[in-house]
Amino acid sequence: MVSGRSKRRLVGTVVLALLAAGEARAQVGTDARDAAADTRAVTPPRLVKFAKAVYPPAAEQKQLEAEVVLALEIDALGHVTVADVVEPAGNGFDEAAQAAALQFEFEPARRNGNPVKSRILYRYAFRFEPTPAAEAPPAPSRIDGRVLDDAGEPLVAARVRLSSEGRAVAERRTAADGRFSFADLAPGAYRVQIESDGFTAFDTAESLAAEEQLEATYRLERPAPEDMVNIVVHGTRPQREVTRRPLSRRELSRVPGTSGDALRALQNLPGVARPPSLSGLLIVRGNAEMTTPVFADGLWLPSIYHFGGLSSVIPTEMLDEVNFYPGNFSVKYGRALAGVVDAHLRETREDGRYHGLLQLDLIDVRAVAEGPIPGLPGWNFIGGFRRSHVDAWLTPLLEGEDTQIKAAPVYYDYQLLADTRPTERSYFRIGVVGSDDRFRIIDASSATGGQISSIDSSWGVGTIYENSLSDQLSLELTTSLARLHQRFEVSTILVDTVAYGTISRSELEWRFWDRAKLRFGYDLLIAPYSVEGQVPDDPGPSAPAVGPFVTSPPRRFDESNVFFQPAIYGEFELSPSSRTQVVSGVRLDYTHDTGRFDVSPRLTARYELVQGFPGTTLKGGSGLFFQPPGLAEVVLSADQSLRSLRNWQNSLGVEQELTEQLELSVEGFYNLLDNLVTRRPDERGVLVYDNSATGRIFGAELMLRYKADERFFGWVSYTLSRSERTWIPGEPSRLFYLDQPQILTVLGSLDLGRGWEFGARFRYVSGNLYTPCTGGLYSALAASYQCLNGSINSERLAPFHQLDVRIDKRWVFDAFTLGAYLDLINAYNQSNPDFIDYNYDYTQSQSVTGSLPIVPSLGLRGEF
């Protein structure tokens, strides 16, 4: 990441000279002399953080210019401890220069590699520039950039064109170091287009505030698009959340053990627990399942994985970026108790050519096509289709004497997007996205078997419109209409839901001051639904086991209603200084199912304790997060007395840059939950649903990350946490069944050259909790024993640990690229327990693994 800076208007031109190194950061070099150090053995200090001097008002009025030579003493940490005036200039220049120089920060001088104190001379020049007329545009902004190739090497003589509102502004050729610069720019929206022979044309939009100096690095990709995603690295941009963990497509597609699946890679981030096998759940910071929604371009995805986690419903090739917010996220998002995942589908390429991709692996086959739409100038499309072929190998595995495959397990998904830029300031996309999973088998070997069938199908049409209405105003609008059909049936359980959801979100951002923004938005969900089915009666989370569901009298429902959940929000972002950013917001949600309003005030703040490199940022947040009760709870409670579940999230952390590529993030969190839905006896002893359960989750997360460069990416993530619930007021709190105190992931991927890449991932996770059975009680109704519960969630399975390795090889030909990978899952064939199995009368037990044995997953991929 390259840091950005803003200059204040009409501060005199700064002239800086580094004595020993002679490295000039401005236009005038000056004396170079280091009186204290032996230059033959010393690396000079290097300025990494510059501070502006205030132009003395009296001197400015008289249009005086001056140069002040300072002697600076820099300690071994790079801080300026002394700034003596060697050559004074008077008229207030000396004091101004001294004050500014004391805020400088350096990479310290080194002797034989070790940081040492040093003393250097500076010449601080004040150059007067006329005050612009009142109607003159704001002080110039600038873009300083660097263009690199996919190996990270500078691209020489690349053509960089800058335009605004359809008009060319300037054009540059990159220098030998790949750098270019556009100075004296008015604030506003710009389009940056870069071309270089042998590389795909690059096109991006940038927005410049007054006095903003944007430093950006652009990577141009070769025609093979998969490896090097266009990653625009901006200067410091405000984060609206305390912790956002963006992952680039390269990282997402190369994480070992995920077969290149982007959303499965999320499970390697801090705070994300290992879900039970085949559950397909996303469990964040000790919260319950289904409390971290996943959005694709702002639209909610009801199911993110095919068949409980085989792969995600949106292929990696269609994604640009996945942002994961483990907590304390913006008021833009709601109806989520834990975190948020916001995936961004990628924009089409605008190089005027057609591209295609075909991939085959153990699970599925997929194809992607992309290019301009004939007859529609300015329009491009990207379309993808994927179908599993697990039916080919899973069917024989499942089919047996007592099992009939009525419909083999199959999934498919598809995406078709078309986009255009109606104007320089706007972007429009329309798309269709859908997925379908289904299977039907009959298992006659037990009373609880019978027909087991599942349908999880959805499709939707959505649009996205973005417009930078002016330099201060921008607008986002997303709308979608989707149909969702979920059906699950096993023996006496049936749930069949059909919903037609209209989701609309919009946000207007108003930058009314250089240091402040206001955002207003709405987030509307209207979904007529019908749900029918029957489920066994659930006596509640603290009740003893009640035996097989097949003999539990079913509770039946057949209801049609409308999810109507509108929300509005406002957010104020303030940067009172260049170090500080505070985002406060409030969100108002209405839930028709409960007839209640929820108000969610939220506050986050970031403070750059140390600016520049190596930067240190403190961050923290606090806020309320609500989530309406689940459909089943609403339907079964019938009296609509339930309220939304509430989580008061608090977090505090620090981000520390260690090297240019290595950064460390440590964050503590403390969540207080209440209004959790439970089922317990009322005063008559009748079991009722209510919101009386509470909980507490606290812990710390650590992430040591090597940011992706041309050779390597990787990270170490570790979470230490505890998650407790009190299901019935007055009862002692218990560990939540998804509590996983320790989660460690170490992964990395190294480019070996010649198209080879090797990656490995190791995971260690505390074992899942379970409730032991202390014996069996024979139920004549079920003709079987049922567990006599011991203390609930009092035992823990053995820890989970697993190593996955991945090898990629890519061959680049003139017209296309061919790739292959081998994902070796569970490389040392560890058998990790997933649950405890008991014999028929609960007098013997053994652990059972649901995870796969060593599995080599081979994939082939061709693209042009």
């Binding site: 099992t403 009959i442 298992d443 699950f488 096993v490 006496t492 749930v495 509770r555 039946r556 004549a780």
Partner: protein, 350 residues
């Protein structure tokens, strides 16, 4: 509803991938004292009327000529329509009953309690209160309003003793008559029966018309000599002999490695799968197979599925033991609302 998905995942996982229950002895293998079923007559309660519960139990194989073990059976009842409709709400009542039992439970006179509260033996009569349906909470989402009556029982190859200090389970224990120490798990079974009283609906016990053993219709003919036993209808080639229980029994060779086994097929009337109240579907019906020698390939077989209907094939194969003797085979049929039926026969292994 997420839990439903989890159940499905678990079902798939258990049924197909990992194999739950593998590594344990099959539940069909009877190696100690076991309860197999409780049949109520009538199979659903009628307010204000009584119902008779009958316990089917079994025990390990004894050497030919040896008497079966003496067993004590006690019943604790009177728990009708607890507010939660769950059996564990009955524990406080059971504790109160246990406090009034004699130190040797079966010494307690049944007259100490009102009818349907305490009893002994394989049969027990309970009284359904007139207002049982009114007592039960009425929930909109119930497919039919119902009231459960829970009756608990203990089967002990020793001496039953009260354990009123056990407040979270059935407060009865079983000790050795000779040592007074608790008996092993194979000598003590504790369980409960659920009888539903349904509003505007009834349930019938499944109709088990008979059993076929290797195609032959098993009879309950009594005998004194082998010559008293006729060949089975449908399997004239099957040798028959008189078992120590004085019932005619098929004779099969002991099973060496790789023997094919003998098919046991319950003959169940399709009408046993009754239509569920307020639903087009029929109830789940299944069969369980038990033997105190040898082993069944499948201990349970679905007979009727709610969604896919009648299962065409629900026999199970029994593999005789390696050692000669007389094996007892129990086949029970259950429905999802508490109905039960059973049949038992012996097989002589030579």
């Amino acid at each position: 509803m997420q839990r439903a998905s989890e159940l499905g995942a678990l079902a798939l996982l258990c049924g197909s991938l990992a194999g739950c229950g593998e590594g344990f002895d099959s539940p069909s293998k009877v190696q100690g004292l076991r309860a197999f079923a409780v049949r109520a007559e009538p199979a659903s309660g009628v307010p204000g009327q009584s119902a008779t519960l009958e316990l089917l139990r079994g025990d390990r194989q004894e050497p030919d000529g040896a008497a079966e073990r003496e067993v004590e059976v006690a019943w604790l009842g009177g728990c009708h329509a607890p507010p939660s409709r769950q059996f564990f709400d009955c524990y406080p009542l059971l504790v109160e009953i246990a406090k009034r039992l004699e130190p040797r439970v079966l010494d307690t006179p049944e007259a100490r309690f009102p009818s349907g509260i305490f009893g002994s033996g394989d049969r027990f009569q309970i009284e359904i209160p007139e207002d049982v349906l009114e007592r039960s909470p009425r929930l909109e989402t119930d497919s039919v309003h119902f009231a459960p009556s829970f009756t608990f029982f203990a089967v002990c190859a020793g001496e039953l003793v009260p354990r009123p200090e056990l407040t979270d389970r059935v407060p009865l224990g079983c000790v050795s008559k000779s040592t007074g120490e608790p008996v092993s798990k194979d000598d003590f079974v504790i369980g409960f029966s659920t009888l539903y009283t349904l509003e505007g609906a009834t349930n019938e016990n499944p109709e088990l018309m008979g059993l076929r053993f290797d195609g032959g219709l098993v009879t309950e003919a009594s005998c004194e000599l082998d010559a008293d036993c006729e060949p089975l209808d449908g399997a004239p080639e099957l040798e028959m002999a008189c078992a120590p229980s004085s019932r005619c029994a098929p004779v099969v060779p002991a099973c060496a490695e790789g023997c094919p086994g003998h098919q046991v097929l319950p003959l169940i009337a399709p009408e046993s799968a009754e239509r569920l109240p307020n639903e087009d579907h029929t109830e789940v019906v299944w069969a369980n197979f038990f033997a105190n020698a040898g082993e069944f390939g499948k201990e349970a077989q679905l007979v009727n599925d709610r969604a896919s209907g009648w299962v065409s094939e629900f026999a199970s194969k029994w593999k005789p033991p390696k050692r000669p003797g007389t094996a007892r085979i129990w086949v029970t049929v259950n429905d999802q609302r508490g109905g039960a039926a059973w049949s038992t026969f012996d097989v002589i292994v030579r």
